[in-house]
Subunit: 250 residues, 2 copies
DNA sequence: GCACCAGCTATCATTGAGTGATAGTTTATC
DNA sequence: GATAAACTATCACTCAATGATAGCTGGTGC
């Protein structure tokens, strides 16, 4: 929202605020809802929204406004071109074939991570269209992304997000997060249990490109009623090999 | 490009031009490439692109700029909320299960149609991530969308796109298109052979919502070496039933 | 090492596009 | 048929976008 203090590039920022407001919405929004949510004047909202409608980025229905099909066009453009997407997909396919588990790749985007590719395993998780989902960095596999940052940036992040409620019910504070990060740095992977989703089990490793720069993370996901944590951990070599294969080609 | 004559809402229009320019690009673009392509001043391009980078809609790599992962977030928001997407998916699943063919749904967006949902059949077509792909209206299944328009609008369309080269090599002019449209109106479906893709065979029907408004189109796709046109046509009742099921719930 | 070029960034005066207040119109609701 | 909600249209003001120009940075060839 309200892209910060600076007052430059206002028009575009506001339009993107509107789009992301609709992205978060669980259903159609009225003009006044968007105005309130984005903290814009109704007239400004109207002009912006109408323009987005004209371009197909927003569509108007009986109950309000929602995102339009043109945003799918952008996503298509991304998936077809992006190196991470195109390189990761065959690796995920192979990984899921050998492990029979769901595998996915996500990348950092600001203070979140975004799932950019996923291949389902033998017992498909019933997530509806997971690709593009935005997830926090301090939960589950996101920690392998955090762990790669310089300490200073991590502290900055923690200051902004001091704690988070996990799916297990536990509230994760700074100490717990830092401890997990320490372990990720030590072991090179993160094993998460019921952090983001109750009963979910995931094993994640970072993906580094040829210049040793963090490019994203790769993980295997399953559920506790199908696989045990120990069993999942046996796939670590396969997973690391996959991360290496992706990183080498980026 | 350059969203038309009017000179209002310039900033946003230009930013969207930049995004769509990157969507069409087959690889990373330099700042100057984007400026040339979108017909913007380099300084303006720079400001716009940097802003989009800040927001994650564009990413900068060694070889230039490309779309960023945040556009996937928008797509996710669309797919999760959009009635057509959510309602169509289970119908497509069922349709593909019974026919063993690939089924898909697309909707109109301006002078194009956009694939919003697809479920693969027994012989998956090797399209890479088809969802979100923009396709012309006057080729293949798009004709069932055109056929539902008032004559006046069709004439308008034909004036702008007088002819199109089909995959078969044939050039489709106004007469051929109008004849196809006439037949679609008469029969309620369109059977296309090697129009968009050589060897591709598709059977498409319109989807009307409860208010008898055109909401999109549903089709079955296969290839000539797997299925014959006659065989494909036998699935017309199933297809129509699917279209009815989707339309009723929208 | 130096000159050169491409790609990107920063600065700044000008101006016209975006802004927001208000009034008007359409559409739904009781 | 009155009332409200949702959206649209109008318009003067002003501040943010604009585009020309100059500056910076990193790579390449000689």
């Amino acid at each position: 929202m309200g892209a910060g203090g600076g007052n430059q590039g206002r028009t575009l920022d506001r339009a993107l605020d509107v789009l992301e407001c609709l992205e978060r919405a669980r259903g159609p929004l009225r003009l006044s809802d968007i105005a309130r949510e984005t903290d814009l004047h109704l007239a400004t909202t109207q002009r912006t929204v109408n323009q987005l409608v004209r371009r197909g980025y927003v569509q108007q229905g009986r109950l309000g406004y929602s995102l339009g099909p043109v945003v799918l066009g952008l996503a298509h453009g991304f998936v077809v071109n992006d190196r991470m997407s195109t390189i990761a997909t065959p690796v995920l396919t192979e990984l899921s074939a050998t492990t029979r588990l769901t595998s996915s790749v996500f990348v950092r985007s600001g203070d979140e991570r975004i799932l950019v590719a996923r291949v389902s395993g033998a017992d498909p998780l019933r997530y509806q269209f997971p690709i593009g989902r935005r997830v926090p960095l301090d939960v589950g596999g996101g920690k392998v992304l955090l762990a790669a940052w310089p300490d200073e940036e991590i502290e900055d992040y923690v200051r902004r997000f001091p704690e988070v409620a996990l799916a297990s019910g536990r509230v994760q504070g700074e100490r717990a997060l830092m401890e997990d990060i320490r372990r990720v740095r030590e072991n090179g992977y993160h094993l998460s249990e019921s952090e983001r989703e109750l009963g979910a089990l995931s094993l994640s490793v970072p993906v580094y490109d040829a210049d040793k720069e963090l490019a994203g993370a790769l993980n295997l996901v399953t559920t506790t009623d199908v696989t045990s944590a120990e069993e999942l951990l046996t796939w670590l070599p396969e997973l690391s090999r996959g991360a290496g294969a992706i990183g080498a080609r980026i």
